[in-house]
């Protein structure tokens, strides 16, 4: 069910890189019934042991406000930044896409990959693995085009995002 005033928000969360921290964040979303469209996590500062979680979620303004307040309440959370409201930001996702085909379809997949600036990172006589980065929409479009050409496997990272300009989170 989508409510009329629901919006998509990309939220960056800086957390202590300690066991269980991801479970706390995911448990918060599932326990309170919030949506997760995409979630990524990786250590970003080894010295200070900080990880960055990027979560894409949907909700009414009141729910989004709740999500942010609930995230800030978690003890190992340092910063919560709603990139969607805090100004312009860049969002990227990476996908590895395997296409198994021969003949014209194989050629056509290479041609489209070129248009999308996808790179071939593995090739056999009967398959390619493409690496493509961009917005989630771009990745979606690429995958859709590959479908009739022999798409067999997809692996996506989920969205990572960062604000534009000089300021840090």
């Amino acid at each position: 069910m989508t409510l009329a005033n629901e919006g998509r928000h990309t939220i960056a969360v800086l957390v202590d890189n300690e066991p269980g921290v991801l479970a706390r964040v995911i448990g918060l979303f599932s326990g309170r019934g919030y949506n997760i469209d995409s979630l990524t996590v990786a250590e970003v500062d080894a010295e200070r042991m900080l990880s960055r979680i990027t979560v894409v979620t949907r909700g009414t303004p009141m729910i989004i406000e709740q999500i942010k307040a609930q995230l800030r309440r978690l003890v190992p959370v340092h910063r919560v930044s709603d990139l969607t409201v805090e100004g312009p930001h860049v969002e990227r996702e990476l996908a590895l896409i395997k296409v198994a085909a021969s003949g014209d379809k194989r050629v056509e997949s290479l041609r489209i990959a070129d248009i999308f600036r996808a790179r071939v990172v593995d090739s056999t006589t009967s398959s390619f693995v493409f690496e493509v980065t961009g917005t989630s929409e771009k990745l979606g479009a690429f995958i859709n085009l590959m479908r009739p050409l022999g798409l067999v496997d997809v692996s996506r990272t989920g969205v990572v995002a960062i604000s534009r300009g000089p300021k840090a989170i």
Binding site: P19, A23, G27, A69, Q70, R73, L74, V75, H78
Partner: protein
């Protein structure tokens, strides 16, 4: 000075002592035997051996609520930890500071389905404010200190520290508590000045103002209650309290309208419905308070003071949110109110008070007295008569009708005297909670107002009362029914009393005797005073079995999902609500 080498178990004891702990509620088992051994060899900590780990947590809650200090629990791994889950959630919902130390299997066995292993941090993650698994002995003391800081600061709550057996057996370096700034956790206590000014100006312009005050003021400490009381007197505004806030404002004061919400007074709910400026302090717009959200206080501008940003705009949109500790914020409000020489509009306020007095005349708590049957309200009124004027009375409750009647008829002038399970509504809370309060206040009068169904949920704690000679009084309003369930079945399920009759009840007088306590019974209204006198006279634990009218219902009642002005005042058609909406039927 060389750093102190201690075993993990010794560190646990030392860390607790350094945190100012004087008593621990607990129950031993394999994984915590080293800690119990360290406990045996020291004199600074008192241990109260409960009879079930759930009792330990509720006792610690009663201790914490009645003192404002952190309650401490020590239990073993596996079943010891899982038995604590209900109590942890209870403390989480009611913002009660608890540190619960759980034993765990040795680190190399974690994940192996070892004997009495449970994933305690996994199970308790959503049941606590925060939890820790301590993996090395050097971290034991620091983690416990941090656990106390997290439990007591900001919005208080329960914290679990899971201690594997090898970690408490090994030696390490003890770290004394130091006031370090936590790297990520910093609750905000000071409110934003511009918001506070805005709020005070809005209040000064109000025509029909109301203070809506909750448990946050109790959490903040007695100073917050005093400041709130001064501010209310300064402004002349009426005050209503939530179930968790009772005592935060003196109930004997003429500006007090009583509790609001589902079983709140007519005047409090009507004032909530009709006010034009609402000043919410440390309350969280619970659904038992708001009723139907789209009809909740429709014409008011709302100010909300709360230490937890997640309480703001959660259920109800507010106009002026102020994040901060209640005491700090009210203190600032008083200063600004005085500095700006504000005065409430006298004509408007007088007219508001006369409207309120009209509502008060309905005497919504009145009931039809009886010569044959003890009305539960009558029993509580008689009890209250004997408690009036005493400053050393702590009352806990179980959950049900008796809890609501106790909230209505026992009136508190000070905070920390009223111990009840509001958010989770845990039957079985009252006896251990009263026990915890009695441990903290050995000379005080600690009463558990109980239902005959609820009391059976933690009745084993009578044995703890006996061991430590804790003279807790259990005052059972025995209606032979899960009365609150029966009431809903009568109103909303066509009088089909499915499984709510309490068959085969024990003889509570004999049961008291078996536990080494005094058993008393009253079956007629004229026996009630004598029973109360005797209960207060004996210097031992008492079970007073008061046989009350089984058919009595608790009024006023706003059916779940109804609006405040749809309040049901009694059985005689007076203000009778229509059957609840479909939406209401699915609410609890």
């Amino acid at each position: 000075m060389t750093a102190q080498r201690l075993t993990g178990a010794e560190m646990v004891i030392k860390a607790l002592v350094d945190q100012g702990v004087d008593v621990v509620f607990g129950y031993p088992g394999g994984a915590v035997l080293p800690i119990y051994d360290a406990l045996f060899q020291q004199k600074e900590l008192r241990h109260i051996l409960v009879r079930h780990e759930q009792g330990a947590i509720h006792a610690a809650e009663g201790y914490a609520r009645s003192t404002g200090k952190v309650g401490v629990v020590l239990v073993t791994s596996g079943p010891g930890a899982t038995n604590c889950v209900t109590g942890l959630v209870d403390a989480l919902m009611d913002s009660t500071p608890i540190v619960c130390l759980t034993g765990q299997v040795p680190t190399h066995l974690i994940g192996n389905d070892a004997f009495q292993e449970a994933d305690t941090v996994g199970i308790t993650r959503p049941c606590t404010k925060h939890n820790y698994l301590v993996k090395t002995t050097d971290d034991v003391a620091r983690t416990i200190h941090e656990a106390f800081h997290v439990a007591r600061s900001g919005r208080p709550g329960p914290v679990v520290v899971d201690l594997p057996k090898n970690v408490v057996v090994a030696e390490g370096t003890y770290q004394a508590p130091v006031a370090v700034r936590h790297k990520s956790y910093h609750p905000q206590v000071k409110g934003e000045t511009s918001r506070i000014e805005q709020a005070v100006d809005l209040m000064a312009a109000a025509k029909r103002p109301l203070f809506y005050v909750g448990g946050g003021v109790v959490n903040s400490g007695p100073a917050a209650s005093q400041l709130l009381t001064s501010f209310a007197r300064l402004t002349g505004f009426p005050v209503t309290l939530t179930l968790m806030g009772l005592g935060a404002y003196p109930a004997s004061d003429k500006q007090f309208l009583g509790m609001l919400g589902m079983h709140g007074t007519f005047e409090a709910n009507m004032a909530m419905h009709g006010c034009d400026v609402m000043v919410c302090v440390g309350a969280r717009f619970d659904d038992r308070v708001t009723g139907r959200l789209d009809a909740f206080s429709p014409g008011s501008k709302k100010i909300h003071i709360d230490i937890d940003p997640s309480s703001i705009n959660k259920n109800v949109h507010v106009d002026i949110p102020i994040i901060g500790d209640a005491a700090y914020v009210i203190e600032d409000m008083i200063k600004i109110w005085k500095a700006r020489q504000h005065r409430a509009d006298p004509a408007a306020l007088a007219s508001w008070w006369s409207t309120i007095d009209g509502w008060r005349k309905r005497e919504c708590l009145s009931y039809v007295p009886s010569r044959e049957l003890i009305k539960p309200q009558f029993a509580l009124q008689r009890l209250f008569e004997r408690l009036k004027g005493r400053d050393d009375v702590f009352v806990s409750t179980e959950v049900g009708q008796h809890q609501m009647w106790a909230a209505q008829f026992l009136r508190f002038d000070k905070p920390n005297r009223w111990l009840t399970s509001g958010g989770l509504g845990t039957m079985g809370y009252g006896l251990p909670a009263a026990m915890g309060a009695q441990v903290a206040h050995p000379k005080a009068l600690c009463i558990d107002v109980a239902g005959e169904a609820s009391i059976l949920m933690n009745i084993q704690e009578m044995s703890t009362l006996a061991q430590y000679r804790l003279p807790v009084k259990v005052f059972i309003l025995n209606n032979r029914y899960m009365g609150m369930v029966r009431q809903w079945q009568e109103f909303f399920f066509g009088g089909r009393y499915s499984e709510s009759y309490m068959d085969s009840l024990p003889d509570f007088v004999k049961l008291a005797d078996a536990f080494g306590a005094v058993g008393l019974r009253a079956s007629k209204p004229d026996e009630v005073d004598g029973l109360i006198d005797e209960m207060l006279r004996v210097d031992r634990a008492v079970i007073a079995d008061v046989m009350v009218d089984p058919a009595e219902n608790c009024y006023p009642m706003i059916p779940a999902g109804a609006a405040h002005n749809e309040i049901k005042l009694g059985p005689d058609g007076d203000g009778n609500a229509s059957p609840p909406s479909d939406e209401g039927m699915i609410l609890v």
